[in-house]
């Protein structure tokens, strides 16, 4: 005779129950059997400090095997970055290459639909978006000037250019919003046609990146007021700049494929 589970709730119970049960077993193993809650028998960094060393080694010192001992015997306390570059900057460039792939999904769809003629641009305002492009290029310029200013320790100019960048970025969003409103007044919406679909999703995700950039820019400005950035330490400004210029690059592509090539 067939035993039939009646509802989704029973399934929730089954899946959740399995998860919970294994969770309890795994948690039990982890915290009771593996002694995960007990500190490792090894020393902490604190005993490596001079204060601890001066204390006469009352803390149990590491008991390494002879082989391990000989491997780390000639070692160093701190190793410099193996490529001699900042983690943050390398990380940002790595992240940007994944951003390229994200926009490829959206742009690829647009270009393919355009190429086969399924998608026809409607009611685009080339001049207005040209002004938007100009504003965004200006903001890239001010961001790079801000970096230049902090590297020359000109804090006043640094703050000035950051403020300028925020205003320019906000102006770009304003222009984009006006253009969206204009298109919608012509009846072009995300649901009206394939063009509307691709246009609003693409420019929407780009706009989202600009807005995230603006939030980051504001935080950078607050840190600038606090005097966090110096000629020696301005990686925060540089990595932000990389992100911002990348968003600019994406706009250059979008401007070309949406507005210029009609």
């Amino acid at each position: 005779m067939a035993l039939t589970l009646e509802s989704g709730a029973l399934f929730a119970l089954l899946a959740g129950g399995t998860l919970l049960l294994t969770g309890l077993v795994a948690g039990g193993i982890a915290f009771l059997v593996f002694n995960l809650d007990r500190e490792r028998r090894y020393v902490d960094e604190s005993v490596l400090t001079p204060a601890a060393a001066a204390d006469g080694g009352s803390v149990a010192l590491p008991r390494l095997s002879a082989v391990s001992e000989s491997v780390i015997h000639s070692g160093v306390v701190e190793a410099p970055p193996s490529l001699g570059m900042s983690h943050n900057k390398l990380g940002m460039w790595t992240f940007l290459s994944s951003e390229i792939m994200f926009f490829t999904a959206l742009i690829g769809a647009y270009v393919a639909f355009r190429a086969i003629g399924d998608l026809v641009p409607e009611h685009l305002n080339v001049v207005l978006s040209g002004v938007g492009t100009f504003v965004l290029i200006c903001s890239s310029f001010t961001v790079v000037l801000a970096l230049d200013a902090v590297q020359e320790n000109n804090q006043q100019n640094f703050v000035f250019y950051l403020l300028g960048s925020i205003l320019l970025g906000a102006a770009f969003i304003g222009i984009q919003g006006y253009e969206w409103a204009e298109l919608m007044s012509h009846g072009v919406t995300a649901t009206s046609s394939l063009f509307g679909t691709a246009f609003f999703v693409m420019t929407g995700f780009h706009g989202l990146h600009v807005i995230i950039g603006l939030v980051w820019l504001t935080l950078t400005l607050l840190r600038a007021f606090r005097g966090d950035f110096t000629p020696k330490d301005n990686m925060g400004v540089e990595t932000f700049g990389l992100y911002w210029h990348f968003v600019d690059v994406v706009w250059i592509v979008l401007f070309t494929i949406i507005y210029l090539i009609q």
Partner: protein, 548 residues
């Protein structure tokens, strides 16, 4: 995170639950990834057993058609996104910094964020059971237009998509972390050509995650927009459902390699240690990993041969699919020649590695079969395909993962695992696996389609299905043996020592488990196998010059 050691009193504070939840230590995060993955393995495994129970005999056993759809959809999604990938990320998290002689990952806080985003993504995915209409019943592939609101009105599909975006963002962040760590945090003297092969495989995988995952996020964003904003990307009338397939497989085919390349790295670590020989052709393995990483991106449309691609694309993807077997074959020969002439120590890690080699060979070869277009049209969406990818993902990756678990658990927790139960685990899993998935090849050739909850008795499929179901429960038994083995070994607590296997790489040059800062001093590396060279020097034996 670190328990405070009070100088002078030698009192250590116990690491509390809060310490674990707020840790940024790569080892604690790695352990939590492994535990998380194991939890979801249990959940996904339960779903798999439900599938097999339903299919054991013709007629409805346990599930109706709709429930069956939910069960296999969530089984696939869980196993790929919440078991295999987090498990590999966990092992990578724990061992990459140790192998390259670093104290932590490059971005420890980002690392913690990735972990908790993975947890959140898992919760989002599983919360889809609770909404009206139950979990997403769209297959793990989520093809349009099945995912449209017309055919899947339940908001569980939205939860599925959002969960995957969250999981994808977590793995992208993790990929950035792994790439920066591996490139920029190597110990002095650890050149790229002295990098342990597991670390190399994680690096290649990280690049694939970095470039493939955003494509899936983009496609999922479009799918969400189609469902919730009324856009038309994948709508058949104006957009194109095949676009989803392109974008989805552009992620999901590399994802197969994302899942298998780290397991290959584990095997490349284990085989030389248990053969007492250097790895055969280190640079060939590295280059073939890189080749797989690149070619993995060029084969996606072989999943779409039945959608009517242009002949130009068809021939391109047939060719690329066959070419990618070449670097995989190169590795196969490297591994076999590593073992030939070695003095093999048949401990559990080696058994599972040999299991990997043989099972992955079958899975790889049946993949090349499917590159042949006429055959693919016949086999598409039959049980042959199910057999093929389970031989790759289960026979390959899971065998590799379990080999890695037996190899590295002593390092992670400081005690040895029982060899006797380990061998029982291996044989149960090997037999159960083949009993489950080998008959599926035949079922596929007999024409049984995948994703059907029932089949007629007169088709002659019953015996094979029954065998597969029995095999699935043998696999369950195998993992119960594993669980018992781990618990009993933990109670027995036979100390592993720094280096239970006489290993080659730097993780064996610290205590088991390693201290918070990994190494008192960062080792200066001058060869491919620093720990083995130090061992020989200490014993007064000559250390021959190696290539690198």
């Amino acid at each position: 995170m670190a328990a405070t050691t009070y100088p002078g009193s030698a009192v250590t504070r116990r690491a509390s639950l809060v310490d674990w939840l707020t840790t940024v230590d790569h080892k604690k995060i790695g352990i939590m990834y492994v535990i998380l993955a194991f939890l979801f393995f249990a959940a996904g495994g339960t779903l798999a057993l439900l599938i097999r129970w339903e299919l054991a005999l013709p007629g409805q056993q346990l599930l109706d058609a709709d429930q069956y759809n939910k069960v296999f959809s969530m089984h696939g999604t869980t196993m790929i996104f919440l078991f295999v990938i987090p498990m590999l990320v966990g092992l990578g998290n724990y061992f990459v910094p140790l192998q390259i002689g670093a104290r932590d990952m490059a971005f420890p806080r980002l690392n913690a964020l990735s972990l908790w985003m993975t947890v959140g993504g898992g919760i989002l995915l599983y919360s889809s059971w609770l909404v009206p209409g139950g979990a997403a019943a769209i297959g793990w592939t989520g093809y349009a237009p099945l995912t449209s609101t017309t055919f899947s009105p339940s908001s569980s599909v939205d939860l599925w998509a959002i969960g995957l975006i969250v999981l994808g963002s977590a793995s992208t962040a993790g990929a950035v972390n792994f790439i920066v760590t591996t490139l920029n945090m190597r110990a002095p003297g650890m050149t790229m050509w002295r990098l342990p092969l597991f670390t190399w495989s994680v690096l290649v995988t990280a690049f694939m995650v970095l470039l493939a995952t955003p494509m899936l996020s983009g496609a999922l964003a479009m799918q969400l927009a189609d469902r919730n904003l009324g856009t038309q990307f994948f709508v058949p009338e104006s957009g194109d459902p095949v676009l989803w397939q392109h974008l989805f497989w552009f992620y999901s085919h590399p994802a197969v390699y994302i899942m298998v390349v780290p397991a290959m790295g584990v095997i490349s670590e284990i085989l030389p240690v248990f053969s007492r020989k250097p790895i055969f052709g280190y640079s060939a393995i590295v280059w073939s990993s890189i080749a797989i990483g690149v070619l993995g991106f060029t084969t996606w449309a072989h999943h779409m041969f039945t959608t009517g691609l242009s002949p130009l694309l068809e021939s391109f993807f047939i060719l690329s699919t066959m070419i990618i077997a070449v670097p995989t074959g190169v590795k196969m020969f490297n591994w076999i020649f590593t073992m030939i002439g070695g003095s093999l120590k048949f401990d559990t890690p080696l058994l599972f590695s040999i299991g990997f080699l043989s099972m992955f060979l079958i899975g790889g070869l049946s993949g090349v079969f499917q590159a042949v277009l006429p055959l693919d049209r016949q086999l598409h969406d039959t049980y042959w395909v199910v057999a093929h990818f389970h031989y790759v993902i289960f026979g390959g990756t899971v065998f590799g993962l379990v080999a890695g678990a037996y190899y590295w658990l002593p390092k992670m927790f400081g005690f040895k695992l029982g060899e006797g139960l380990g061998k029982i685990h291996f044989w149960l899993m090997f037999i159960g696996f083949n009993l489950t998935f080998f008959p599926m090849h035949i079922l596929g050739l007999l024409g049984m389609p995948r994703r059907y909850f029932d089949y007629p008795a007169e088709r002659g499929w019953t015996e094979y299905n029954l065998a597969a179901t029995i095999g699935a429960f043998i696999i369950l038994l195998a993992f119960l043996v594993f669980l018992v083995n781990v618990i009993m070994s933990a109670i027995r607590r036979e100390p592993a020592g720094d280096d239970p296997w006489e290993g080659n790489t730097l993780e064996w040059a610290t205590t088991s488990p390693p201290p918070v800062h990994n190494f008192d001093r960062i080792p200066v590396v001058s060869s491919l196998r620093p720990v083995r060279d130090a061992r020989l020097r200490l014993a007064g034996e000559p250390v021959e010059d190696e290539l690198h």
